[in-house]
Amino acid sequence: MDTIEMEYRKMKSSEGIIGIFLHPDAVLNAAGELHRAGYGKFDVHTPYPLHGLDEAMGIKRTVLPWIALAAGLVGAAMALTLQWWTAAVDYPLVIGGKPLFALEPSIPITFELTILLTALGAAVGMLALNGLPRWHSKWQHDPHFLRSTDDAFVVTIDADDPLYDAERTTEFLRSLGAEQIRTVMCHEE
């Protein structure tokens, strides 16, 4: 046991089961079966997004697009307010007899700030909804779990799932074709 691991041992821990799958079809099937069996506190850790997994796991559509839209609208409003207020209210200056504020020349900056805020909304919103940044996943300290960023699909089931039962859950994962099943002490921070 190395020193990094020693440090984490001191932290609060809880139990969980991980099942390692090596075939995309097998893990897709397993995710579907777990969802149908009523498991809620499970997840599939994959090295890349796997098509069809969201539906199989019964993940609801994220609200992220609405966050991005709201941020974009804020950007547009900000840009128009800024241009109108500075030119027509705070320091009105008639140039060439033109109106103090007009929509046409205000479009480019309104467009750019809409895009900027939408991007920030999408990025920050995604991180916030995912609970990031954080140090790492609570499963991080299991060396076999680490394969989930390399070449394996790792199903994780939290011990506080109402259906969780160390033996039955292990058996269920085995029946679904997991190559390897491990009981893991998770380290919360």
């Binding site: 990094i4 090596l22 075939h23 995309p24 079809d25 897709l28 099937n29 995710a31 997840d43 599939v44 850790h45 994959t46 090295p47 890349y48 997004p49 796997l50 098509h51 069809g52 997994l53 969201d54 994220t62 992220l64 991005a68 974009g72 800024l82 500075t86 030119a87 705070d90 320091y91 205000s106 480019p108 900056i109 467009f111 750019e112 700030l113 895009i115 900027l116 939408t118 991007a119 920030l120 999408a122 990025a123 919103g125 995604m126 991180l127 995912n130 990031l132 954080r134 140090w135 790492h136 996943s137 499963w139 991080q140 060396p143 680490l146 989930s148 960023t149 390399d150 070449d151 994780t156």
Partner: protein
């Protein structure tokens, strides 16, 4: 039909024979990755570049580019301390290399965004091998571009409230009706959004490196990658939102990239100078930007491919596809050159006509014909598939296009200005050593940043390449 994609024993998803439909449609197309690497092979190949010690060749190259960059920074300091009179700009050529270089570098960036956003929306899966480095190139090109408008103000330390709407003691605001200010917002947004897009794409790969460092017991690397990966877990509930965020970013980057060079072209088109005041500028500039950007991507990618031994992932098919885009945008640019002449004649405006005749036959005709030869004539070689797949030919042509596209901007800017309305105000622009040094310096900065990137950051999008390996996606419900 039994499927036999697996050369390596650890290629583990071959155990089931099903899904031959999908397999066959994969076979009919030319593979995007050759040699059927396993998931682990992709991790190893890309991570190894980051994890191993830099080679001698890398040190030598970065020393050279570093010296060039340092020389450019010296010239920038000299300009700032002395004044922009050290440049060759004069009356009537008040805009010269500074804005030429600005437009050149901004244009280079456009290929990165096109690859990351537009090709993503069109589901062009071949983009995955090149998007990471093309996006990095975008960022570095925009950094180089930003140097010029900042230093051309002469006093960059007070330029903050010339460029941004910041409250100041004069109680005045920036001019929101000036295309130059639109540029500030367009380029600023472009840099910010490109950076966000690039970083979001990088997160899963940084997590891969973190986990490898953790496994290897490398505490320092583990700490660094833990911080920069923002704790990416790879959980599918996270991937779900991640993919949505990526789609939104791609969706908004598409109009963004089209708007950036449109607004850059407004710097010229909104003025009343013959040769600049044309409505064709926005599409013409955007096409030119993508054209020059792809040339730069090819220049860098062909080198990186062989130096980093990525032949398996950046294949001749990629080069072929990029050359097709190069041709398409090159033809658009050539068409724009032609239409400009037609409109100059058709307008009946003697000043407009004079500018274009002067462009082709006047004192800067050498620059004009350099541009036409490099941008329009030489790329015609790519009608031949053999040439599109010839790395040496492609590399040389990409250099010609880089040169040609720099000259395009110079031609637009300098030739339109140097013959003013009155012959008594006619002039000619010649660059000084400072002009040349600063431009060379930005090339040095660009290459230095790219070399640092190629060493310390995964040059291929590991997670995206994995996702397009044959057999990487479930066969379920897809046939």
């Amino acid at each position: 039909m039994k499927r036999t994609v697996d050369a390596s024993p650890q290629h583990h998803w071959s155990t089931e024979g099903g899904g031959s439909l999908a397999a066959r449609s994969d076979d009919l197309r030319e593979a995007l990755v050759v040699g059927q690497p396993s998931l682990n092979d992709v991790t190893e190949t890309v991570s190894a570049i980051v994890e191993r010690k830099p080679t001698k060749a890398w040190y030598v190259t970065i020393s050279i580019t570093g010296v060039v960059a340092a020389w450019g920074i010296f010239a920038i300091l000299y300009t700032t301390l002395t004044g922009i009179g050290v440049w060759g700009n004069n009356q009537p050529v008040g805009w010269a290399w500074d804005i030429t270089n600005f437009v050149f570098w901004i244009g280079i960036g456009h290929a990165g965004t096109l690859i990351s956003a537009i090709l993503f929306l069109f589901r062009q899966r071949w983009r995955t091998a090149i998007n990471r480095s093309a996006e990095a190139m975008t960022l570095f090109a925009v950094i180089c571009a930003l140097i010029f408008p900042i230093i051309h103000t002469g006093r960059p330390w007070v330029a903050v409230y010339w460029l941004l709407p910041l409250p100041n003691q004069m109680q005045m605001w920036v001019n929101f009706r000036s295309p130059l200010l639109w540029d500030v917002f367009a380029v600023g947004t472009y840099f910010a959004v490109s950076l966000i897009f690039w970083y979001i794409g990088l997160m899963p790969d940084l997590a891969t490196l973190r986990n490898r460092a953790y496994k290897a017991g490398n505490k320092l690397a583990n700490t660094i990658f833990t911080l920069v990966s923002l704790g990416w877990t790879g959980a599918n509930r996270h991937w779900h939102r991640y993919e949505k965020a990526y789609l939104i970013l791609a969706g908004i980057s598409t109009p963004l990239v089209l708007s950036v060079h449109t607004i850059v072209s407004f710097d010229f088109a909104v003025s009343v100078i013959p040769g600049w005041h044309t409505t064709i500028f926005p599409p013409y500039f955007v096409a030119g930007a993508i054209f020059s950007g792809f040339a730069m991507v090819l220049t860098l990618m062909i080198l990186a491919r062989s130096l980093l031994r990525l032949e398996q992932y950046i294949t001749l098919k990629h080069v072929d596809n990029m050359n097709k885009i190069l041709m398409a945008t090159g033809l658009m640019v050539g068409y724009a050159y032609g239409v400009e002449y037609f409109i100059a004649w058709y307008s009946g405006n003697p000043y407009e006509r004079f500018v274009f005749i002067n462009r082709a036959l006047g004192p800067y005709s050498w620059a004009y014909w350099t541009m036409v030869i490099c941008n329009v004539i030489i790329p015609q070689v790519f009608w031949s598939k053999r040439m599109r797949r010839n790395l040496a030919v492609t590399w040389v042509i990409s250099i010609f296009v880089n040169i040609g596209m720099w000259f395009e901007r110079f031609v637009i800017i300098a030739t339109s200005l140097h013959r003013d309305f009155l012959p008594s105000s006619w002039g000619y622009f010649t660059p000084t050593w400072v002009d040349v040094s600063i431009f060379a310096g930005t090339v040095g900065i660009f290459l230095t940043l790219f070399l640092l990137f190629a060493k310390f950051i995964p040059v291929l999008a590991i997670s995206e390449v994995k996702a397009i390996l044959p057999g990487a996606q479930p066969k379920h419900g897809h046939n």
